[in-house]
């Protein structure tokens, strides 16, 4: 089953948000407008708007407020994607040429800055100071997380704590913030908004851990990039950290990456084979499941509602994700 089927009943509201997203990026400059629209049309899961919508349904639902929050969060996410492609020198995103590839670094920088400015202009329509404090803090932490990720590249001595803090900032915080802002926008009680924030945080942690596992277990076809690509780029993720507890694997990784520029395909294939001999993948799934359980626990005392059931289904779906 597709994830989108779990929230198929939200299609009408999601269409409203999609339309508003299109309107939000109607720049005066042709290329700026084209680049932004192309990025929007490339699609994506719109997972942040979904969480905003679902958590917003647990309060006094108001589509205008929810739209404001959902559009801004998705625009912030989009802006970060445009800049990430400059950082990674990426040619393709979701199978299509990146803005950086089509128009160059400078236009990608201007487009990212423009989309982010639109996101901030839009979010100021929400008269909720707490929401702005939460979102702005998250934005700073997300940027800090990305800086840390570059700092930690090829750092074989980092620990589990480094990794968890990194994925918290990279993925979990924006999902947690989507949940909390949806709740704040519709006046969900402070206590429940906090629970929804933690739900989003745990879901985000679990989601990123599974993404990191899939980088080693999924096929090149499924990933759209070679297996083990994260490691090749120097990003040390949970499966590697666990596998490195094995002395032989630890030595092998360090030897393989003595010169990161000269790691061959055969060496990578060997590393992947050796990793699978350790308990790294099983243990990583256990940690992901641990976060999922925590996410589900947070929902227990939330009043019964269709949206609550969907949030539970999403958590279960993420746990079963294998591609």
């Amino acid at each position: 089953m597709k994830l989108s089927k779990t929230y198929g009943y939200l299609n009408k509201e999601l269409d409203i948000i999609e339309y508003a997203l299109g309107n939000a990026i109607q720049a005066d400059h042709d290329v700026l407008r084209e680049a932004s629209t192309q990025l929007l049309q490339a699609g994506g899961k719109r997972i942040r708007p979904v969480f905003v919508l679902l958590c917003g349904q647990l309060g006094n639902f108001n589509i205008d407020r929810i739209k404001t929050v959902a559009v801004s969060l998705e625009l912030i996410h989009m802006a970060s994607l445009v800049h990430d492609d400059v950082i990674d020198d990426a040619e393709l995103r979701r199978g299509k040429p990146t803005i950086k590839q089509l128009y160059g670094n400078r236009v990608a920088m201007y487009t990212g800055d423009y989309i982010l400015a639109r996101a901030l202009e839009n979010i100021t329509l929400l008269p909720k100071p707490t929401a702005h404090r939460v979102l702005s803090k998250t934005m700073v932490q997300v940027a800090t997380g990305e800086i840390e990720q570059i700092k930690d590249k090829f750092n074989w001595d980092q620990n589990l704590r480094n990794y968890l803090r990194r994925i918290k900032r990279k993925t979990a915080l924006l999902i947690a913030t989507s949940c909390k802002l949806g709740a704040i926008a519709t006046d969900v009680s402070e206590e429940n908004a906090e629970k929804l924030y933690r739900y989003g945080y745990y879901i985000g942690m679990s989601y990123q851990i599974i993404d990191d596992i899939l980088d080693f277990t999924a096929s090149e076809n499924e990933l759209g990039k070679p297996a083990g690509n994260d490691l090749l780029q120097g990003n040390i993720t949970l499966p590697v950290l666990i596998a490195m507890k094995d002395k032989e694997f630890n030595n092998l990784v360090r030897e393989t990456f003595e010169d990161p520029e000269r790691v061959s395909k055969a060496q990578m294939a060997n590393l992947l084979t050796e990793m699978k001999k350790t308990n790294a993948i099983t243990e990583s799934y256990k940690i992901s499941d641990h976060y999922l359980k925590k996410a589900l626990n947070e929902l227990e005392t939330i009043p019964n509602h269709k949206a609550k059931q969907t949030l539970q289904s999403i958590a279960k779906y993420i746990g079963k994700r294998r591609s």
Binding site: Y110, D113, L120, E121, R133, S136, A143
Partner: protein, 264 residues
């Protein structure tokens, strides 16, 4: 020049403290924090009917936006396949540093619950990027149009802030004086080194020689100076300190005097 509670020196320190990140500093050479822009911001806010903490926050957050935009302009236009690892990291961190400073501006204003100012600065960023696209795609018919767009990019943040806090008198002067200062710096640089970031954009689309560009720039500097001087004659009394400072700097600009001599 003082705001009611802080001088520009303390503000500069405060901005640098906010921006501080030792890892970023190792790789990214921050753009220069413009003394002129800081002076103009403090002047704009000095007499605004706002509490001191707001004035300080407005100044710091506006300068953070400026630094974010300037840092993103440091990202190279193209990726060189021969790029060293350090150059690659510098590029990556320049992108992230700009995003980090943008986040900080929003955070600072959210902490004091000033969402209106978030909106004002976001609108200015949006417009600046629209203008930057025009320059990038060389949609400029003449040197005059080039100057108009360059002036917008250079001064929109400050004119938006001035208008927001009701200091409309100072808004036009802020734009004129800040841009004159920038034009002067770029022209001087061009004269002494044969290069200028600002004029290189213009040179890419015309066959103008350096001498023609410098002449045209001097003409614009004089035009701007004349306009600022004219506006200063009607300047309100409570802004006398600002007027004195601006007049002093105008008298120090070399091109105005030189042109007068030439024309005389």
């Amino acid at each position: 020049m003082q705001t009611s509670s802080m001088d520009t020196g303390s503000l500069k320190t405060l901005i640098k403290e906010k921006m501080h990140n030792s890892y970023l500093e190792k790789y990214v050479k921050n753009p220069v924090l413009s003394e002129d822009k800081l002076f103009m911001l403090t002047s704009i806010l000095n007499n605004a009917d706002l509490p001191d903490y707001k004035k300080e926050n407005y100044i710091v957050s506006t300068m953070l936006v400026q630094m974010a935009l300037d840092t993103h302009d440091l990202v190279p236009k193209t990726d060189d396949s021969e790029q060293s690892n350090t150059e690659k990291v510098t590029k990556q961190l320049s992108v992230l540093a700009g995003d980090y400073y943008s986040g900080l501006y929003y955070l600072l204003l959210s902490e004091i619950e000033d969402i209106e100012m978030v909106h004002i600065l976001a609108t200015a960023i949006k417009e600046i990027n629209e203008y930057k696209m025009q320059l990038y795609y060389r949609e400029i018919e003449s040197f005059d149009t080039f100057i108009i767009i360059a002036k917008k990019i250079e001064t929109l943040l400050y004119t938006h802030v001035a208008e927001f806090v009701g200091e409309t008198t100072i808004s036009g002067i802020a734009a004129g004086w800040l841009f004159t200062s920038k034009l002067n710096d770029e022209t001087q640089h061009m004269l002494h080194t044969g290069t200028s970031t600002m004029f290189s954009i213009w040179h890419k689309q015309t066959s103008s020689s350096d001498a023609i560009t410098i002449r045209a720039a001097k003409k614009h500097i004089n035009k701007e100076i004349a306009s600022v001087r004219n506006r200063l004659t009607h300047f309100p009394k409570h802004l006398i300190a600002v007027k004195t400072h601006i007049l002093k700097t105008l008298n120090e600009f070399p091109f105005e005097n030189r042109t007068i001599v030439e024309e005389g």
